[in-house]
């Protein structure tokens, strides 16, 4: 049975977690990112969409470079701690206990992850309530965790929970629950449901303004 998705997170387009890094005046800025994808093969281009309310965007705009660090399955604790960090802490890498190295252009890259990329920004524009960057990979450095699996968005589901969910889904109980629920309360649209989770963004969303049409 197909059931309506009522938030953008239900679409499952967010798949793996990365940590975005940029050099700040007093340390290394870090931002957890699940909105990354490749957008070109030759040369390799990548795209990210961080929230411009965070200081990392102005640092990237100023430097013209950013670091993209793909996290490993075993690094859940670090990824989760990124949620609770004070937004304006001057050295988030130090706060998280992350070791970094700097490229020739001063871009900080994490030493412990699957791989680190240094990316040169080619285009940037505000897209809804996020800011989209397109950049070319100029440094690609595999790290010690290169043989590990990627860190899935939201972390790995525990085996017992997965088994329970499988039983509920395949038995039809999940479908029945949704039918009953939606009979009494029609599902929200994806825009309405997402808005409930990002109320502050709703009033501050900027118009979509890509560089070209």
């Amino acid at each position: 049975m197909l059931i309506p998705n009522t938030t953008i997170w239900h679409t499952r387009v967010q798949n793996v977690d990365s940590l975005l890094t940029a050099a700040g005046p007093q340390g290394t800025e870090v931002y957890r990112l699940a909105t990354v994808c490749q957008v070109g093969l030759e040369p390799p281009l990548v795209s990210i969409s961080p929230n411009p309310e965070y200081p990392i965007c102005s640092l990237i705009d100023k430097a013209g470079y950013f670091g993209l660090n793909l996290m490993a399955e075993s690094q859940t604790a670090i990824v989760q701690r990124c949620y609770g960090m004070p937004r304006h802490h001057p050295d988030k890498a130090a706060l998280l206990g992350l070791r970094v190295e700097h490229t020739d252009r001063g871009t900080p890259l994490l030493l412990e992850c699957v791989q680190s990329l240094e990316v040169r920004v080619e285009q940037a524009w505000n897209s809804g309530d996020h800011r989209t960057y397109i950049g070319e990979v100029v440094v690609r450095q595999p790290r010690g965790l290169a043989q590990e699996r990627s860190h899935r968005f939201g972390g790995r589901t525990p085996a017992a929970r997965r088994l329970l969910k499988r039983i509920v889904c395949q038995s039809g109980a999940y479908d029945l629950l949704f039918r009953i629920r939606h009979r009494h309360r029609p599902p929200l649209t994806i825009e309405q449901g997402t808005r409930q989770h990002v109320p502050s963004a709703a009033s501050e969303a900027s118009p979509h303004s890509p560089p070209s049409q």
Partner: protein, 173 residues
């Protein structure tokens, strides 16, 4: 039906790990599905995602013409669809039929898959030409989860590589 023996350049040379999906499109009575791994969320509000498509593909032509596309996220167990729809052109192969992929057309003419992990209908709100791809930014106007598959994790590029025995691309540059 055998799987293609040629590994897509996307699988062979991708520098990032990420989800694998099927991009669907239709225009002027033509319909197509192709594998996509160059996609991500762009914005919460409005609800936007972006997907990069190579010019010259039938999908590029159909999305450009219709202004709509569907993006269906695949899960583990759907590797054959990912590999099958990622090789060969929709101009030569009726891929929905060849790979037995069921779909329904929305009122906007977008094919949405019945049996992917999730399937979303998107209206193109911007297109950005890049070096060897075009980035289509789409607003999600409707999206669905297949409950029979919802306990599964999305299929990743790295898992597809493992499935076909391709090496991981971890060489420094």
């Amino acid at each position: 039906m055998g799987l293609p023996t040629i590994v897509s350049p996307y699988l062979a040379t991708a520098v990032l790990d990420g989800g694998v999906g099927l991009l669907t499109s239709a225009a002027r009575g033509r319909i197509n599905v192709m594998t996509a791994s160059f996609f991500a969320e762009s914005s919460h509000l409005p609800v936007l995602l972006r997907v990069a498509v190579a010019p010259g593909t039938l999908t590029h032509e159909l999305v450009s013409e219709s202004g709509w596309f569907g993006l269906s996220v695949l899960c583990k167990g759907q590797e054959e669809w990912a590999l099958g729809c990622g090789s060969g052109s929709g101009r030569e192969i009726p891929k929905f039929d060849r790979w037995g992929i069921d779909y329904d057309l929305t009122s906007n003419g977008v094919p949405l898959l019945r049996d992917a992990l999730t399937t979303s209908e998107c209206r193109v709100v911007a297109r950005v030409p890049l070096k060897d791809h075009t980035l289509f930014v789409g607003e999600i106007v409707a999206s669905f989860t297949q409950t029979r598959r919802s306990f599964r994790d999305p299929l990743l590029v790295s898992e597809l590589r493992t499935y076909v025995g391709a090496p991981m691309m971890t060489a420094p540059c």
